[in-house]
Symmetry: C2
Subunit: 197 residues, 2 copies
């Protein structure tokens, strides 16, 4: 059996993207993360800045939704559905890694998926945001919390799930155990799933 | 470095205890689960049935607590503290596996601990309750949910954490990926943690 598709959700600053890259390299399969923005832009005709922006914002308020007519689909929803289509098409091509973008929920019914969530203690993530991502902020813990809040709001709005809730994933890993160990566990689980059937 | 102490929290029917046993066998370290009831009974003087019962009940209501004098320690708390003492003493002896009993929270400050949580889809757990544990129930899904509710209430009451919330653990594993794969990932993580320092 082929490898499963691997989806990696991650709290901000947990190193989830780096883990995804290393997993993809070791398994020799493609990884889609920010590339999806460009692909979605190309397919949908939306400017890539709009696609990017729509994913960083919390979903529009109910008030705004109610103020639009029932036939209007909010821009954020349009971008989401365009990206979901791109994700489904890529998944059809074969095993790969998706980082974020609700790919776990989008693919759960149609594909064999290993669903992973990466998290880490707040202090570690704040330090990573400052020193590895080299972001600017007055308070890095607040920045990390704000980013998490937006991710959770986006994910919970577009899926029937709760972001980061262990029940929804096959593996939740605290990257404090080590980036390479996290990579190793995911690779092992993926290979085992491929051998199983 | 020695192996870490491994704590395994688990939703009811997820196979967490079996996974714990297999991990302990592979690593050749002791496992403490129901044995703790007997040990706590011996040390504290409580009858083992009382110890058992106190852990299966949801914590006493606030109303009951308020009705007792400030100097009275509720029986459930007394049993908890007696068992926590036993857990700390056993942890001092060396690497081992603890299943449940809030051992993760009890040991987090004092020991090197690999904190694991095992869960599984409701359907799978209901089937396990019926066919593997051979329990009696009208509705096995309801039984599993009720048991989970009691575990969560007990854990949340005695720790500063939320039962099953991925943030609190190093590894959360859905045992639907396979009992032996779950065992393998835990063993691997434990060995890696031992090599690290």
């Amino acid at each position: 059996m082929p490898l499963p598709i691997i989806t990696i959700g991650r709290s901000f600053g947990s190193g989830g993207r780096l883990i995804g890259k290393k997993v993809a390299t070791l398994l020799n399969i493609p990884i889609y993360d920010r590339e999806l923005v460009e692909m979605t832009a190309e397919r949908s005709g939306f400017h890539h800045a709009v696609v990017e922006q729509m994913q960083q914002n919390r979903p529009v308020s109910l008030l705004y939704t109610l103020s639009t007519s029932a036939l209007d689909v909010p821009l954020q929803d349009q971008v989401y559905f365009a990206q979901a289509k791109v994700i489904r098409e890529l998944a059809e091509k074969g095993p790969c890694v998706f980082v974020g973008r609700c790919a776990d929920s989008i693919l759960e019914e149609s594909h064999k998926v290993l669903e992973v969530f990466i998290h880490a203690p707040l202090e570690m993530r704040a330090e990573r945001a400052e020193k590895v991502y080299k972001l600017q902020a007055k308070n890095f813990k607040d920045l990390v919390k704000k980013k998490d809040k937006a991710r959770k709001a986006y994910y919970d709005y577009f899926t029937h799930r709760t972001w980061g809730k262990s029940d929804h994933y096959h593996l939740c890993i605290n990257s404090a155990i080590g980036i390479d160990l996290a990579v190793d566990l995911i690779v092992r689980a993926a290979r085992e799933m491929a051998e199983e059937e």
